[in-house]
Symmetry: D2
Subunit: 345 residues, 4 copies
């Protein structure tokens, strides 16, 4: 039995990790840390976990993670980069949930996150934790930068199409819609129930920080710089991200060729599912699960592909991906603890 | 006091008409028709209206509308075109909620609605009921084709930009998100609460019938055929449509010029509101009201405009627009019965 | 045209007041105060009100209310009792939204609110602002204590039954369910969307502060002390309170006699509506309106009455009641600005 | 590996069974039946199950269940009683989800279900499937009548208190609130999203058919006939039942004694959890799980106990209980496939 620690365990991604690990079977929970709830039992903070997950939250100090096989670091951006190096030095492998180790180009990081990087030397060692693209490197990595929730839904759809030269790189529009849990667990008037319920809005229009992350991976696919229009929206629901993606078809590109390019690229992938022709995914069918569902059409009238992907932002978009990465890093079966279907409703 | 009839009054747009007319002050309700609820009191079918709206629903026959100054016809597509001519012949002015008289090109109608038109001669007499574009013609019209809910949010944003040659006509993507009331009031498993709640999905991808309606008006603006990518989505909320619209800026076009083009075009319009720079509307701020709110930015990184509009699909997207059209047709103040703010939450 | 001020105008009840007053026609908005948003336009803080309600929020000082015909005081409990006296001394009539002037027995106030009262002499002058019980005293009052949202739904149902000796006073159970807006507008983790959505819970079990308010009015009806079991619950919706009320029938009491007692007592009341026999209200049919709907049955198997009432907690449960009180205090028609139906959905 | 069939597998309880059985590990799915979706793959009807649950739905005929170790019968009331006998005769053990075998007193069944019973001889052989009360009999049963969703939440709280003579049997009020999935999966205007969302209502007031089921079990506890007031309500959420239960304390009864009676009675039960003193459960903490959480207080002011229980109506209230019963009937560990925590949000 491996031992894992969760640092910053009382946010939504932390809860989701505890929930997934409770049924995993291959790892035991070592330390759980929380600044706000230090001293409390897991089941006291999250009554859903009562009598299932045992353990007390402690204030974070790196020494708690000594001897762990793996540490999930759920600290916020800018904080993570000051703590992760310490964890690595104590010998743990780390799956980091923040953006701090995702962007290989430090000037891009600093432009979008408005801060200089505290630990540039670790960035180049980090592997971007999308197993569908970087599985072999993840297996060997000591530090995995777990992808942002939005990038996963966008990159998986577009990567094979760019690589196959089926779409025009400058034409990409990603219109994404997320459940509210993506905003994190915090007291914030804008996230109050009455300020979200029966409401729908765009935010971070043309300025959201997941943009450079998407562009980094898509540029690799295209073999040259790709810039995308990315607009996130807030949906009055708890979980899920639906991404509606538009891109001009290159001359000669067809619906069938795009569908084939995706199927070929993701052949054998355990968590990528394709919708039947004419059908498109919805977020409820992946809720609670690690699946990413894809639908695709080519609008012949406009010559534009429309792709739709759905993930659970807390699972495939965060904690499920982290468990998948952990499985790879520890040599466990990749689907362990992640094989269940979603709860749908 | 004018007299108005509502034909097909027990759907959501019918209810909304009754609600708005109850506080209008300038028109009395004549006949109310309903096939399903014939014989019942308004307040029995809609307890919200009890003790406010009085009157019994009757089965529709055209003679009920005799002597009415105006008839709101809320019958479905294909049914409306067989009933509206009768109403017109009895001397009533008609605001028709269906799509049957919106598309001037009959071949387009027949291609999208998969039926031949029963009454082509009335189509050319009908005026597309968007007062911001066709106010003077609406004043004199005997038959107004009330716009579809999605087209209003898209056309209002794009018309001035196309007219001012600020955007590339072939680059338009309209990603729209609607509350569930837009699907109508009916027993349908797909609209069951549990099949919509905590769910988000696209539908009618590249095939939705509001597409040609949008294209008709935008083509007029552009002075040549415009084709758009239009994708509607279903949001787990009752009211509202948010449209996120993407279009490539023409060389030399700026955010400021686009903003100015919109302000100039809609100068003095009572129901068009502009968001401050950097702010974007959300549907809750127009809920229950006849306002259409617009926000705009130019993403300098991609050279693409992003516009966001919000309406209440049942008000500015249906029954409020119909009352606005009625006011124009009857010579009443255009804002009568529509001046109240939304209920926000 | 009368002039009214709203003190503490940027909570949910403040918004609702502004919304209702915007269509009232008999009062103009004088001062609007807000500590958080001082200096901002109403339409900036509440985009729903943009271009409808004009005026800037100012930091509260009593002198702002000088010359006002009426002041709505939406300050919190304990704060109100230190500000209201000042307002009264400047000559304004006051409708106070807090609990500070509702409880005539100061020891009861101090026991439930855990504080001594700063201004006991004003308490005895205050009138409990339930027009259905105290209309004539409200007309003449200088200070009206606007009722709590829960008490309105409970008292209106039970008062006539206790007065008519149809129910056993010691048997009353009030199981109430409220939309989230009742918790007020504030950043609070417990009210975060994800902490409320898809969730249902009781709170304040056997300890909620609206209990003594209900008991005060019901004791007057019964002519002796009444104690009730009152349990509020939080419903994942924005507006509305449904109260399900249980009370043992006295020997000889029937469904018909209870129904008649209610009808007699509320004969001519403009905002009390009775459901047909066998039907019970739901909150959506009163949403946005000042109506209170009542349904009733006698469960012959158990000898227990079951009554259900529905109100919009922000309208009849707060700001609508306040406008109704204002109308009475200023000699305006009681229903002015409140005659519209709810928005239902 | 045992083999199980699911008859009527495409309702919400059917889906939930498939979801739970997919991770169970001890039973394989034999036949799946559905009248509506016969011929379709499980993953086609429920995309959430795609690539996890394999198998086609078939039209029901009893022979499909031949050779099964256990059949879950999810047919509706009145239909089940004509099919279950056939299944039993073919040698299968049956967990029946309908009400047809729950009520031992046939005259009670016939009075509440307005039909004569087609198969009275099987009723007396059926065991009411609440393991916390009837575990040993369930182990040996060939036919288990799976409890209704509401009764579980009510009976578990009240049974030990009645048995210990801590409450007055005639004073029981059960005010229950359910998510919409409890109404089943069907096209019904009353269950349309817009007719449920932002709405809260009581239904079946004093007439709901779960009443006699609750009374049957509670009468056994009390050793004499118990009648209860039971009012169900519809909450705008998908899953969960919260029951708020009121009962007069007998002289000498205390909060501590009641808490102890519950703890003693449910000592060692794997799925019953007690809330800390002063805390009450909410439905989100049991969502997706088989737990039933209980909180309790004694309101000293009124001498009335208030108990609150929470379950997921689809799990502990239906399909989870059914799996628990199956485990007992097949000699598997009782918690197999049910040990995971809820998904909370």
């Amino acid at each position: 039995m491996f031992r894992a620690a969760v640092v910053g365990a009382t946010g939504y991604t932390g809860f989701e990790l505890l929930r997934l690990l409770a049924s995993h079977g291959g790892v035991a929970l070592g330390a759980l840390t929380s600044e706000t709830y230090a001293g409390k039992e897991a089941g006291e903070v999250f009554p859903a976990l009562a009598s299932v997950v045992r353990g007390k939250f402690q204030k974070f100090e790196p020494s708690l993670c000594e001897g762990m096989d793996l540490v999930f670091c759920c600290l916020p951006h800018r904080v993570a980069m000051t703590s992760v190096p310490d964890l690595l030095e104590r010998g743990a492998r780390v799956v980091d949930f923040s953006a701090d180790f995702r962007l290989q180009d430090l000037s891009v990081y600093e432009a979008w996150y408005k801060t200089s990087h505290a630990c540039p030397e670790r960035v180049s060692q980090a592997v971007y934790g999308l197993p569908e693209l970087h599985r072999e490197r993840i297996r060997k990595a000591r530090l995995v930068a777990n992808p942002g929730c939005y990038p996963t839904g966008a990159i998986v759809a577009l990567y094979p199409l760019l690589k196959s030269r089926l779409i025009r790189p400058s034409s990409i529009v990603i219109d994404a819609k997320s459940g509210v849990s993506g905003a994190g667990r915090k007291a914030d008037l804008e996230l109050q129930f009455c300020e979200v319920n029966e409401r729908f809005r765009a935010y971070g229009v043309a300025t959201h920080r997941h943009t450079p992350e998407i562009e980094q991976e898509l540029s690799a696919a295209a073999g040259g710089p790709v810039r995308v229009s990315f607009t996130p929206h807030l949906v009055p629901m708890t979980r899920g991200i639906l991404s509606t993606i538009y891109a001009d078809a290159q001359p000669g590109a067809t619906a069938g060729r795009a569908r084939q390019a995706l199927r070929d690229f993701y052949d054998g992938e355990p968590f990528i599912r394709f919708m039947p022709e004419g059908a498109f995914p919805d977020v409820s069918q992946v809720a609670g699960s690690n699946f990413l569902d894809i639908g695709l059409t080519l609008d012949e009238r406009t010559g534009r592909y429309v792709l739709v992907t759905a993930i659970d932002n807390l699972v495939k978009g965060a904690s499920g991906a982290a468990v998948q990465n952990m499985n790879l890093m520890l040599g466990l079966p990749e689907t362990q603890g992640l094989a269940h279907p979603g709860f749908w409703m």
